[in-house]
């Protein structure tokens, strides 16, 4: 190279300017040799002087780096903007990723080339300005990556699947090998996910994991992370470290085969504890993890831990809801002397929701009390109120078992609560001989099915829990054998069908019109079939029904009517 460019490079004033630039600048001659690099460029290329640069084969300069474009395609010297320019092309700026083959250092650069022409317009040299975009590029990639992690984490309520998806995402972009382990309560580990960029290596990695002890060593790797909750960075993994970690020759062979260059282990932490760890290993890509990679991995782990915690909470919540719900209902309908009883409960909406409908049966002085009700509100708060109502009613009946008095006691207990707690309830006392006493508080009146057909019975009373003026009139009934009382919550008659129409009392009565003489269980089946045939979509409210058919008073050996429940009957 002769002429203007050469003179310019030797110009002291220009050198001062170029030396001071933070951007790396190189000048390439038409024979592809680099003839100049400012100090920033020399440093990036790992060359000590311009003299050394000029003497070097330009390919060997690139040869110490693994170079790819942003899509991971290999970049050869011919693809560099300066080389293209010298061949007469008009190159676009190139975003170049370079990983040093020895040190594992990763650089992202934006290369822009400009031609220097002589007086005749012939290209004399190509000047490349190399902007270091490593931090910017990493930040962009990390943001994109974390956004994808967020999508993956939100995609499944199965936390194991979620973690496998995350591991799959980490490979190969962030690491060559990624594993997720959860720590068990007893200090062991549960391997959940392992992903490797190379399927063969995945098998090796899987075999390798078989060597890892079930009980973690609290002073290294996973065990250390579990014990301290602190992330561990192994920037370099020298062979001595592998040899020290290997339990036998085969283990060491596998460790070497995986070719671990660098590794990091970050905790999956929730507010309470470290639930597991995310391990990333760099091997074939030659990358060496640094502090920034560790920070990034911790961000991924934080998101993963949150996702695991929420899926766990979700399943726990469902479990709590089921447990609560079952605690609000009797385990089984008791055997009630002289009565054939069946009940129905259908919760509305989501699985994890606790409904507000309930029913209960308990024995008092040889009679039975039945209560069915609907606590307004949903969820755990409603469940707490339901418990209060049930146990208050049971306790109250020990002192005064008249249904109106039971309702009054429940009303008083609800009013003592700090926030408004409302409940509709129906309380019925039945005797083995078919006698019944009924009181209703803000609840639908029950229907009686007899030879004359279906009719509402009882008298309305005040909704429980908040109202100042109250009254709970009692109604005395005498059921003949074969006659049935059906008590229900408003979810039954409010069931929504086509066009938003409600099931209503008319359809209920029609469904029960032919029920006289049928067993309680068959009446229940009939109601379920009718409701299921009518309803459209998921219902917003629970439904509960209690069906009590007077079966005729049980008689003992002497033919006397026994005023006792099943407990006494079994003992007697």
């Amino acid at each position: 190279m002769r002429g203007e460019t050469e003179r310019a490079i030797r110009d002291e004033r220009l050198s001062v300017i170029l030396d001071a630039l933070a951007e790396a600048v190189t000048v390439r001659a038409p024979n592809d040799h680099l003839v100049y690099a400012n100090p920033a460029a020399l440093q990036r290329m790992g060359v000590s002087s311009i003299q050394e640069l000029r003497e070097a084969d330009p390919r060997s300069l690139m040869g110490s780096w693994e170079t790819t474009d942003e899509h991971g395609h290999e970049v050869a010297m011919e693809d560099l903007p300066s080389v293209k320019l010298l061949r007469g092309e008009q190159p676009e700026p190139l975003l170049l990723r370079a990983v040093h083959r020895e040190s594992g250092e990763e650089q992202w650069s934006l290369l822009k080339a400009t031609a220097v022409r002589d007086g005749a317009g012939t290209i004399e040299a190509a000047v490349t300005i190399i902007e270091d975009v490593t931090q910017r590029r990493r930040a962009t990639l990390q943001m994109e990556f974390l956004a994808r992690v967020g999508d993956v984490l939100a995609s499944s309520m199965d936390y194991q699947q979620t973690l496998r998806n995350v591991a799959g995402l980490v490979v190969p972009q962030v690491a060559d090998w990624c594993a997720v382990d959860l720590f068990t309560e007893d200090g062991g580990r549960e391997p959940v996910a392992i992903a490797h960029a190379d399927a063969d290596k995945l098998r090796t990695a899987a075999r390798l994991r078989a060597y890892e002890p079930d009980r973690l060593d609290p002073d290294r790797g996973l065990g250390l992370v579990q014990r301290t909750g602190e992330a561990q960075l192994y920037t370099e993994i020298p062979d001595e470290l592998l040899a020290a970690a290997a339990v036998d020759e085969e283990h060491l062979r596998l460790l070497r085969e995986v070719g671990m260059r660098s590794a990091l282990v970050v905790p999956l932490r929730t507010r309470e504890r470290t639930i597991g760890a995310l391990t990333m290993v760099s091997s074939d890509s030659g990358r060496r993890f640094d502090r920034r990679d560790l920070d990034f991995a911790e961000q991924i782990a934080a998101r993963a831990a949150l996702a695991v915690e929420s899926t766990r909470l979700y399943s726990e919540r469902s479990e709590i809801a089921r447990t609560l719900q079952s605690s609000l209902m009797p385990d089984a309908i008791p055997q009630i002397g002289g009565w054939d009883v069946a009940a129905l409960y259908r919760p509305a909406g989501e699985e994890s929701r606790v409904g507000g409908d309930f029913y209960d049966f308990w024995e008092v002085d040889g009679d039975w009390l039945m209560m069915i009700g609907d606590v307004t509100g949903k969820g755990v708060a409603a469940a707490a109120v339901t418990s209060l109502v049930r146990y208050t009613a049971r306790a109250a009946s020990e002192y005064d078992a008249r249904p109106a008095q039971v309702l009054a006691r429940v009303d008083a207990a609800l009013r003592r609560r700090p926030s408004i707690s409302l409940c509709t309830a129906l309380c019925l006392r039945i005797s083995p001989d078919g006698a019944a006493t009924l009181a209703v508080g803000g609840h639908p009146l029950p229907v009686r099915i007899g030879e004359q057909g279906v009719a509402e019975v009882g008298e309305h009373g005040t909704l429980l829990g908040a109202l100042a003026r109250t009254r709970w009139p009692e109604t005395k009934l005498e059921l003949r054998p074969g006659e049935t009382l059906v008590a229900f919550t408003d979810g039954v008659t409010d069931t929504v069908g086509t066009g938003g129409e409600r099931w209503g009392a008319t359809r209920l009565n029609a469904a029960l019109a032919q029920a006289h003489g049928q067993t309680a269980a068959s009446i229940r089946e009939r109601l379920v079939a009718e409701l299921e045939g009518f309803e459209v979509g998921a219902q917003a409210d629970d439904t509960a029904v209690v069906i009590m058919r007077h079966a005729g008073a049980p008689r003992d050996d002497r033919g006397d009517v026994r005023y006792a429940g099943v407990g006494a009957a079994q003992n007697g």
Binding site: I420, G442, G461, T462, D494, V536, G537, A538
Partner: protein, 125 residues
């Protein structure tokens, strides 16, 4: 304010129903919320939200017009009982304009009607 999209239930399915409408008219010291449609567990939250927005410090009288309601369930009853208690605590006046006979029956049989400030006509003061 108008709200008549299909109701969503827990499973996300649409339950077909008559449209439910909430209209709010207010000046500095009073507000009238007019409800039309079916007031149940699915529509109550929307009414609560609309009413909440009217409960400013300046409010003296809140009138809720129930004459357009075609249905009310126990969660609807609860809504008005809670409102009545808040009115007492916060020192403003609640007035409920009577619904038609069928819906009024629900308030009557539950004993709610005799405990809440129902009025016949909005012009009554």
């Amino acid at each position: 304010m108008r709200a008549s999209e299909p109701r969503k239930t827990g499973k996300g399915e649409d339950v077909p129903s008559a449209p439910f409408e909430i209209n709010v008219v207010r000046d500095r010291e009073s507000a009238t919320v007019t409800l039309a449609g079916e007031l149940d567990i699915a529509t109550v939250p929307r009414v609560e939200e609309a009413i909440e927005a009217t409960l400013t410090d300046e409010l003296q009288v809140l009138t809720v017009d129930l004459s357009g309601l075609g249905f009310v369930d126990s969660s609807g009853l609860r809504l008005f009982i809670v409102l009545d208690q808040r009115a007492a605590e916060q020192g403003w006046e609640l007035r409920l304009l009577r619904p038609d006979a069928q819906v009024l029956t629900v308030f009557q049989v539950s004993g709610v009607e005799e405990n809440l400030p129902f009025i016949e006509d909005a012009s009554v003061t």
